[in-house]
């Protein structure tokens, strides 16, 4: 892949001038300039304050820049905007931009190659867009499995998936049925657990959609038609940065299956606080979906549930599906009964709920050696 193409990743760009405050996005970043998509422009040479950022990829960098060129929108995929040339006195900021570009051009590290995939949720009601995205990512990424893309066709399905799993990036279309993307983004930002997840908003809606989604809390807005290459480069950066964004031990993934929403919420909060990545399932169908999609390192299963006994689930996973990851039974049953069931199911062990969350976290750490 030519470097010119690899440079085209997306960052949030905020421009402040004497008469304007513009929040948009930029690409074609070099050590000396960036192209920012915007309808706003001023005379060539006009100085502006520019802040570039993207969660987990680029901590905010403030630079002084000048308008170096103005481009009128052309063909689809050629949005109008301005090229901003960084002030030669940018100092530290310029150095950080060069570091960022170096990282972008660096081959994936060996550590990253063995890592869990970067998990993305795409919320778009167009099946064709979803398919294009899935197909495009499969072709774009050099390393199979580097990216795991999940889909939701509307806000409610997205919310269900977000409640049950953890994502590194959420891409939200603005025009969604029943609840628009801006409303979904605002809900995400109000949720303590999801508030800091990077969000990219996409739309054909132009300025109105951009302002609505950015006001709601999107990190970046990208116009449709999407130039997938730009978005995929951004994802590649995000995948590469997972190593930096989380301590190594945090990448251990635990799937928790319990019919009590309260127990699920509490267990997830405790395990996430301890640094694990957690997915939850409240019934058999969501458990099976999560088990396949989430590929957990450890499974916690409640025993007495309406649809099935947890020891039967564990036994079937072990004996019939050949699941190798450890499975722990978690229950308020008497210890002797729980021990008997765990042994019968060939589970890795059991945890009495009465022992509390501290013990549960300790056992998870013990089983996932090297975890926090």
């Amino acid at each position: 892949m030519a470097n010119a193409e690899r440079d085209r990743f997306i960052v949030r760009a905020e421009i402040r001038s004497s008469d304007a405050h513009v929040i948009s996005y930029g690409f074609d970043l070099t050590a000396t300039s960036i192209f920012v998509v915007t309808e706003w422009h001023a005379a060539i040479g006009t100085p502006v304050q520019l802040r570039l950022s993207f969660p987990r990829i680029l901590a905010p960098i403030d630079v002084v820049a000048r308008i170096g060129d103005i481009r009128v929108a052309g063909e689809p995929g050629e949005p109008g905007g301005i090229r901003l040339v960084f002030d030669p006195g940018a100092g530290d900021a310029a150095g950080r931009l060069v570091d960022l570009l170096d990282r972008l051009h660096a081959p994936p590290s060996a550590a990253a190659a063995g890592d869990l995939p970067c998990r993305v949720l795409l919320v778009d009601d167009s099946w064709l867009i979803r398919d294009m995205f899935a197909y495009g990512t499969s072709r774009f990424f050099d390393r199979p499995g580097a990216l795991a893309v999940d889909h939701a066709e509307d806000a409610e399905h997205a919310w269900d998936k977000l409640a049950a799993s953890t994502y590194d990036l959420i891409i939200v279309d603005y025009f969604l049925p029943s609840e628009d993307g801006a409303s979904l983004i605002a809900r995400l930002r109000r949720d303590e657990r999801l508030a800091h997840t990077p969000i990219v908003a996409i739309s054909v809606g132009g300025r109105d959609a951009r302002e609505a989604t950015l006001s709601a809390g999107a990190d970046v807005f990208v116009d449709k038609p999407l130039v997938f290459r730009d978005l995929f480069n951004t994802l590649r950066m995000l995948a590469g940065r997972r190593e930096d964004a989380r301590p190594a031990a945090q990448r251990k993934a635990i799937l928790v299956f319990d019919d009590s929403p309260f127990a699920l919420a509490l267990t997830r909060a405790a395990l996430e606080s301890a640094g694990f990545t957690v997915a939850i399932a409240e019934d058999l169908s969501s458990f099976e979906r999560q088990r396949v999609a989430f590929d957990p390192d450890l499974i916690l299963v409640d025993v007495q549930m309406p649809e099935a006994f947890g020891d039967d689930v564990a036994s079937t996973l072990r004996g019939w599906h050949g699941v190798q990851v450890p499975i722990l039974l978690v229950s308020s049953l008497d210890q002797s009964e729980l021990a008997r069931r765990a042994q019968w199911a060939h589970a890795a062990g059991y945890i009495c709920k009465g022992a509390g969350m501290s013990e549960l976290v300790r056992r998870c750490r013990e089983l996932l050696q090297g975890a926090p």
Partner: protein, 104 residues
């Protein structure tokens, strides 16, 4: 960390426990035998939720209620219903005391 989690989840637990015990009491007092499986399951869940949160004193009472609810499910007799109602009153009182101690 666990203290923060407790502070966050304790009010939810108290509210949920009140709901579960109230539903079980209504079913037992009204001899609603069709609700028996749900009552048993919810009392079992209550014991587990209390245990995870570290409220160990709730567990034996919740388990006792669960066992009495199972007995009522089998017998459908007034004596078992009254025994369950008595155990549920005790459990409800404990939950109210806990709620009051923690300002819930």
């Amino acid at each position: 960390m666990m203290e923060e989690l407790f502070a966050k989840f304790f009010p939810q637990f108290i509210a949920l426990a009140r709901t579960r015990v109230a539903a079980a009491t209504t079913a037992a007092a009204g001899r609603d035998h069709a609700a028996a499986p749900t009552v048993v399951r919810e009392l079992h869940a209550l014991a587990g939720e209390a245990g995870l949160l570290g409220l160990r004193q709730v567990i034996p009472l919740a388990r006792d209620c669960e066992l009495k609810a199972k007995a009522l499910q089998r017998s459908r007799g007034d004596a078992d219903a009254d025994a369950l109602l008595g155990a549920l009153r005790e459990l409800a009182q404990l939950i109210e005391r806990l709620g009051a101690q923690q300002g819930g």
